[in-house]
Symmetry: C3
């Protein structure tokens, strides 16, 4: 994105906050301005995190990257939890995974495949990543399977225990990527991404200030966004689930969308697939259980992991699709088209979903 | 098939038409004669289309091949739609995919694997094909997932929109196979099939006459077949769904069955898998949405894409099976046996299915 | 396992039998003693079978191995059938497959992956094995899919027919592994396993005596185990299904668990995956249908193949997980952790399952 466009979009932040207090009835405008403002802010957090991670290096840098990589999703999720909008939160978890796997990677394959007969990538690395994603999403699906059969009394306890298992798996995954198998994931890939996406490097001090500032701004803008989301959905005749799965998820993942497509256009499919798959895995193993834990502290009621049957089916479909495509070790534009087609059909489904 | 046998089977056409007008009560005989007559007619359409495609070459030839490749299924489907037999139409769509993937490819693997320890094929090409099939079938499954949750009012609109998405995907797929990635799909494979299956080449004029004549004959015989199918099912104590999934699908795909097994016996597994997978993909992306569109014009009521849960599960099972087998890059007879075993179990299921 | 430990555990057998007659109310102690005693007995059957198979060689040896490889599961299953505990039998079938695929192979990948960056294995052989497992488990899932839709009257006939199809597939599988593709499966692998696991080879006569003796002892101890299982479940507040899926399955597969982990620790991942996958396939194609047939002879009522929806979903999840991991051709400890995490989440699910 050009710098000027980003500055223009940032102007959405004061507009959204101003309208929020002055004309709280203009939901759509507030929602739109907040959405626009979030895009450059999420990108700034990503940039600052990567700069810091580069300087701190190894373990701590990786940990920072892993924690702040989904900062926008986490902040939006936490604020929505405080308002008791658990359906919205779960829908945006589903939507983040669908968006990364189908929309982001589909668009990357189409853009990258334009005028190239085939794009290849390391089959082994992609296979490891998608297998992890598959196993992670199974973690999200299991509670829902059980909800259909378990007694209501047992549900919440079970979901919390499953969130603990997912979180421990995430922690062990950090040990894996940052310690025992650092050379596979770390150095090369991260710096490559950084060089091309982040532009000129700032100092550590500057990056830290940028990180804190952007995070604070995201929190404020997200507050406004979450406050207007229900009314906006009503105004547009959309369900909360559709807004969560399609719109909020798009906003939260905008940075990943932009990076992956840019990488694919430069024929760096390894990085593109790593972004799409890695971000999805992190949402399943880190963001989702963390929001379950947070819901006990900040929510009016604890959040379970009961996804709707259509959400579950969509997740299964999306993850199987990318698993088969990644095991090929190559993509062409038609595979991108088909991933996008699946995304459009699922989005149509969420649009017509009653509730 | 020997030429004499084909001529003998063709005699079924006049017999079926004669009985249809003279003794309309002898359903079973009419159905049997029509079924027999359709087999050589479908083969003739296939042969004529390939000859024409060869002569016209490239784009137009490929388009012709893609459109007439499933002519028999389309004609039978359209006539059944006119009679309002939408369950039969959907069952024969399911059955065509199951038949191609499990029965045709299973039989090919068994016949080809007899006295050969292993048959290998190009892992990449097969992987691309099965991934496309997987994504195509997901397209058919999504509407059914939504039907369980969407309001009845929204169902038909949604299904038509999904048919549009599938059809656009099909059109882009033609651009892919006929234009940007012609060399992967086109020349070599098609001519190979043609040489061995079609026997001696006719002139363009002869092929065109054969195509028009066979298509007209298929239309007449299909009319008789569709007219007798409900009564035949009743006579035999079978459900309409079973007749559609097993019998009508077998008839419609007889040409593919014969070609794929012949190819496998000659150790040309690449062509065998391309026939089985390509034909299934075409049914999911071209035949199914086209029949939805046609149902608005010729049917008493529009057709939705609501497949039964057992049909959906069967499709998922079948496509996963071939995807795993194809990603191997090799088959042996035992894999063929297991595909056939899955087909037999599913067929037993459709047999016992109430309704 | 050290020899002394085995002897100590064997002492559980007389204790269990003694308590069974003397203090039949002490269920938990009886169940625990019987469980302990079964572990070395199952290992002894495995050892004796392999020794005999080595001496008899080729066809007969392989047949013996295939039949007695799951002797413990079969005996426990048959005795439970006689008591009419069909839910327990089906749960232990599910649990054996889950245990082999997730727990055994997960533990093998973790133990083997400790201090090794990656473990590789023959991608083709593993692919063939997991594809077979996938198709086998589909065989178990199909009846359950149909049960949801078929009329109750047709259910049992259908299930018996499907058991026949599974059994024929198993018989053809024996022809495949013992005759036409012997060199792929036979010699190398089996003797390798034997050398390292079984320790010193006994004479044929000794092996035969050991086989008969251990089998008889397993039968006696299993009788006691099955007799105490319902009461134990009640005492511990567990359901029969949980006991079947987790505890009985663990006991029945203890020998496989031990062998696979030992192999993995020696970096023989090919053998480890062959044990986990092969044992699961055998349960789906041999043990399950055989128990259906036996239920007509020895049970108070015939057993159907109606697995619960959660059992079906778990089987699907488990088999997909190992299929994706095996198609990689390599494992690292994190994949093992994720398989174990899936196992723990499913076990939590079975724990909270009402009934």
């Amino acid at each position: 994105m050009s710098r000027w466009l980003q500055v223009l979009m940032l102007a959405g932040a004061p507009v959204a906050v101003f309208l929020h207090f002055r004309s709280p009835g203009r939901h759509l405008l507030i929602f739109g301005a907040a959405t626009l403002a979030l895009l450059p802010l999420a990108a700034a957090i990503g940039r600052a995190t990567e700069t810091l991670a580069d300087h701190l290096g190894g373990g701590i840098g990786g940990l920072l990257n892993a924690t702040f990589g989904n900062a926008a999703e986490l902040i939006i999720g936490a604020l929505a939890l405080r308002e008791g909008l658990t359906d919205l939160v779960k829908a945006s978890i589903t939507g983040s995974i669908l968006g990364n796997v189908l929309l982001v990677f589909g668009a990357a394959a189409v853009v990258g495949g334009y005028r190239r007969p085939v794009q290849t990538f390391n089959r082994t690395a992609a296979g490891v990543g998608t297998t992890m994603l598959l196993l992670s999403v199974i973690g999200l699906i299991v509670p829902a399977l059980l909800h259909r059969v378990a007694s209501p009394a047992a549900e919440l306890r079970l979901d919390t225990e499953i969130a603990v298992v997912l979180f421990i798996t995430y922690a062990l995954g950090l040990v894996f990527t940052l310690r025992t198998h650092r050379e596979v994931y770390g150095a090369a890939d991260a710096s490559e991404t950084h060089d091309s996406v982040a532009g000129e490097r700032g100092s550590v001090r500057g990056a830290l200030l940028l990180l804190l500032g952007s995070t604070a701004a995201v929190a404020v803008v997200s507050e406004v966004l979450v406050g207007s989301v229900s009314a906006t959905a009503k105004d547009l005749g959309l369900t909360q689930v559709f807004v969560g799965v399609i719109i909020v998820a798009l906003v939260g993942n905008a940075a990943e969308h932009f990076s992956a497509v840019t990488m694919a256009a430069q024929d760096r499919m390894d990085t593109a697939i790593a972004i799409a798959v890695g971000s999805s895995t992190q949402i399943a193993l880190f963001v989702a259980p963390l929001l379950v834990f947070l819901s006990y502290v900040i929510g009016p009621a604890p959040m379970d992991l009961l996804f709707t049957p259509f959400e579950i089916a969509s997740l299964g479909v999306a993850v199987l699709s990318i698993a088969f495509i990644a095991h090929d070790g190559e993509t062409h534009w038609m595979e991108g088209v088909q991933l996008l087609a699946v995304y459009v059909m699922l989005a149509l489904g969420f649009f017509y979903l009653p509730k």
